[in-house]
């Protein structure tokens, strides 16, 4: 006890000793450390391989009250389409509620009576397309798929001529920056933000409030350490950890999914350090304002994790949000960081395009650092 005290007289090494102590704390807790390293890797795996939105297997039910040549042809056509699987053919619509409730069919095509003769006369046959729209996105996509098959069928009908009536306007579309809409390219920047928030904001909040709860913070207070030194000592190890995890996620994503990194790596890493500082300050603020570890955890979850996951544009595009919610996203640090990370990784742009977002982050960092140090002060008194 005496030797460290003697060493603490000189301020620079005081801080050094404190940082070392914190690092030991982190490294000693193998379980947390393992999870911190494992979690991003599992997420990369899940987001990259398992979480997709494309529909590869569409289960179709056909309601065919009067089977004839034409309905037979349509059915064969449906069955031959790669994406479709014909699950049942029934004469009445009565079976449909049961099929949808049991989730054995996704789409039902209800054909009219005397389909062949109607078409043979050159009349219009009415077809009803019923989809399970409980998930609107999937529902709409399924409608598009079935409609395109029906349109092909219509074109092949006997006596059909090219539709000269309406002109055709084609769209040559290009998905810029991510031509194949590869999901890995989109989520990796968001994932970095999420993991950095987790490591910095959540960990700092918990570790500080833990010292508070266990009373060891009081001990630190009477030590020759100044408040800012305590904060720096708490924050620096997590900064290092966050940096390491960012590199880990980037490497994993590059090896497994060949995620592009078109811009400067140095800039990306520098920006993530800036973002980490913002999150760390938020964590300190949360810890200073709450009384128990549990409260700090919940506070950090609600105050930092939730906005990062939902309001940053990571999963759900900000442009899709209602008008009143879009301005709210401006106070979420991750929103700016994701713009920066996507810009560097996907667009390959540099600071000349991203200075505005960087300035916002820097401003937030400054503001939060001051607020955190202050509220920490207040707690000391």
């Amino acid at each position: 006890m005496i030797t460290p005290r003697k060493r603490m007289r000189r301020p620079p090494s005081t801080l050094g000793a404190f940082v070392t102590k914190e690092l030991h704390h982190i490294l000693r807790d193998r379980q947390t450390l393992a999870i911190l390293l494992l979690m991003p890797l599992v997420q990369v795996l899940l987001f990259g391989y398992a979480l997709r939105t494309d529909i590869r297997d569409l289960r179709v039910a056909v309601v065919d009250p009067t089977p004839d040549v034409a309905t037979q042809r349509l059915r064969t056509r449906l069955a031959a389409t790669a994406r479709f699987r014909l699950v049942t053919v029934s004469p009445t619509t009565k079976v449909l509620p049961e099929l949808f409730q049991r989730r054995t069919a996704d789409v039902a095509i209800v054909l009219p009576t005397s389909f062949a003769s109607t078409l043979g006369r050159g009349d219009t046959a009415q077809v009803l397309l019923v989809t399970d729209a409980s998930d609107p996105n999937t529902g709409t996509t399924m409608q598009v798929y079935v409609r395109s098959v029906l349109a092909d069928f219509e074109r092949e009908l006997e006596g059909a001529r090219p539709r000269a009536g309406a002109p055709i306007i084609g769209i040559a579309s290009r998905m810029r920056f991510n031509p194949t809409l590869e999901s890995a390219n989109l989520f990796v920047p968001g994932l970095i933000a999420l993991v950095l928030t987790l490591v910095s904001a959540l960990m700092t909040a918990i570790s500080l409030s833990r010292e508070k709860e266990l009373g060891t913070l009081e001990v630190l207070l009477v030590s020759p350490l100044r408040p800012w030194q305590i904060i720096v000592g708490k924050v620096v190890p997590y900064l290092v950890l966050g940096f390491a995890i960012t590199c880990l996620v980037l490497t994993a994503a590059r090896i497994a999914f060949h995620v592009p990194l078109r811009g400067s790596v140095t800039l990306l890493l520098a920006e993530s350090v800036l973002f980490t500082i913002v999150s760390l300050s938020l964590g300190v603020l949360v810890a200073a304002r709450t009384s128990s570890q549990r409260a700090a955890m919940l506070g950090a979850l609600v105050g930092t994790m939730m906005p990062t996951a939902l309001l940053s544009g990571m999963i759900f595009p900000i442009t899709s949000m209602p008008g009143w919610l879009q301005p709210v996203t401006r106070i979420v640090p991750a929103r700016w960081f994701i713009v920066i990370a996507r810009g560097i990784m996907l667009k390959g742009i540099g600071i000349e395009y991203l200075w505005r977002e960087t300035a916002v982050l820097a401003g937030m960092a400054l503001l939060l650092l001051v607020a955190a140090t202050r509220s920490f002060h207040a707690h000391l008194d």
Binding site: T53, G120, T124, A133, G159, G165, A166, I171, I206
Partner: protein, 378 residues
């Protein structure tokens, strides 16, 4: 019984003494629903569109008007050149660039076919795909409209229409005809809520006693393990149901999300699911020493459970190996049950299969965690 009553009283007192926690517990569902229900959508409104109109004719202007009138797009201040449009996209001032080439109208009249170019900013992923869908629709509608007004169109129309067999395809989306994304998300959010409350609070609550040393004290009292576990789980179980009730009320009255099935069934299935969630929390508490560890382990587990449950992306789109994993995930089954009851008005018969799996999961995890707990405490 008497001991259990005292213990329960202590637990309830402890939970409700922490005002901050209670406030967060009750506010959480409301905030989450308010934000998630509105933010969790892939619909695109008012995407910024930069138009490079090289044709400058009635037809090209008509097309631009249709884009604006759809309200899906809004015109960004127009740069004249393709270079300027490119720059706008790099600066995130444009979500899409529509280029109408010279001779757009001339081609339409002469060859009855023309092409426009659409560049989408795919940085936002999902939004780009959705925007392309809108654009295709707008352009196709416009082409149909032009059929009647373009010079020489009516004649061609008349000759073709007669005697051509056609299909008139009507579509109907069951259970959610207006395709309101919130109806789909809200049951999922409620599931998430119940999961978080169940696992997090249980794990933290027990580990806290461990950390403070009060668990040791309890272990040397005549309280049996069964009593201890019951006293821990029952209050949190009721808290989970309370959170669900608040969430349901908010969903029903503030967001007008339908609850088509029986409310009783919603709570009945929630009780079963909560048993599984609480047991996971209990299991975690036996594995860790500090609240910090409990937090991270639970967070990790809950995250994987939720991602693999079909909350954001459909289970059926997953690769086969992931679908097998999902089958063993109680959260996935509960998600199916909640969406079934709330959206499709499913009854006990329709959800029986999922409920059975859920019940087996719940009993299994519960048994495992109780055994594990007994082992650790000895």
């Amino acid at each position: 019984m008497r001991i259990l009553r005292f213990l329960l009283r202590k637990e309830y007192l402890q939970i409700f003494r922490d005002r901050f926690m209670v406030a967060q517990m009750l506010l959480l569902p409301v905030i989450q629903l308010a934000i998630l229900a509105n933010a969790a959508t892939f619909e695109v409104k008012g995407a910024r569109l930069v138009v490079v109109d090289e044709d400058r004719t009635t037809s090209s202007r008509g097309l631009i008007d249709r884009f604006v009138a759809s309200r899906r797009f809004q015109l960004a201040p127009a740069p004249v050149s393709t270079r300027g449009a490119d720059e706008a996209m790099l600066r995130r001032q444009a979500g899409a660039i529509l280029r109408i080439p010279i001779a757009f109208e001339r081609d339409l009249v002469r060859t009855r076919a023309a092409q426009v170019q659409l560049v989408l900013n795919a940085e936002d992923g999902a939004a780009a795909g959705v925007m392309l869908g809108y654009a295709q629709r707008i352009v196709a509608d416009y082409a149909d409209e032009l059929g009647a007004t373009l010079p020489g169109a009516s004649l061609a129309m008349a000759t073709v229409r007669a005697g051509q067999p056609t299909l008139d395809v009507r579509t109907r989306g069951w259970y959610n005809p207006e395709l309101d994304y919130r109806f789909y998300m809200v049951p999922g959010i409620l599931v998430q809520l119940v999961t978080m409350v169940g696992t997090f609070l249980t794990a933290l609550n027990i580990v806290r006693e461990k950390e403070l040393g009060t668990l040791e004290q309890l272990n040397v009292t005549p309280i049996t393990r069964g009593q201890f576990i019951a006293a821990k789980l029952i209050p949190l179980w009721s808290l989970g149901l309370l959170g669900l009730a608040i969430g349901l009320a908010v969903a029903r009255f503030a967001f007008h999300v339908p609850i088509r099935g029986s409310v009783l069934l919603v709570f009945g299935t929630a009780s079963v699911y909560l048993l599984a969630a609480l047991s996971v929390g209990l299991l975690v508490s036996t594995m860790v020493e500090t609240q910090q560890q409990a937090m991270f382990v639970t967070f990790f587990i809950v995250l994987v459970y939720l991602l693999m449950s079909g909350l954001f992306t459909p289970v059926r789109s997953m690769p086969t190996w992931a679908q097998w994993i999902a089958q063993a995930n109680p959260t996935m089954h509960y998600m199916e049950i909640m969406r079934g009851i709330m959206l499709r008005g499913a009854g006990l018969r329709e959800i029986a299969h999922h409920l059975a799996v859920l019940a087996v999961c719940a009993v299994a995890v519960f048994t495992l965690s109780v055994r594990q707990y007994a082992k650790r405490a000895v």
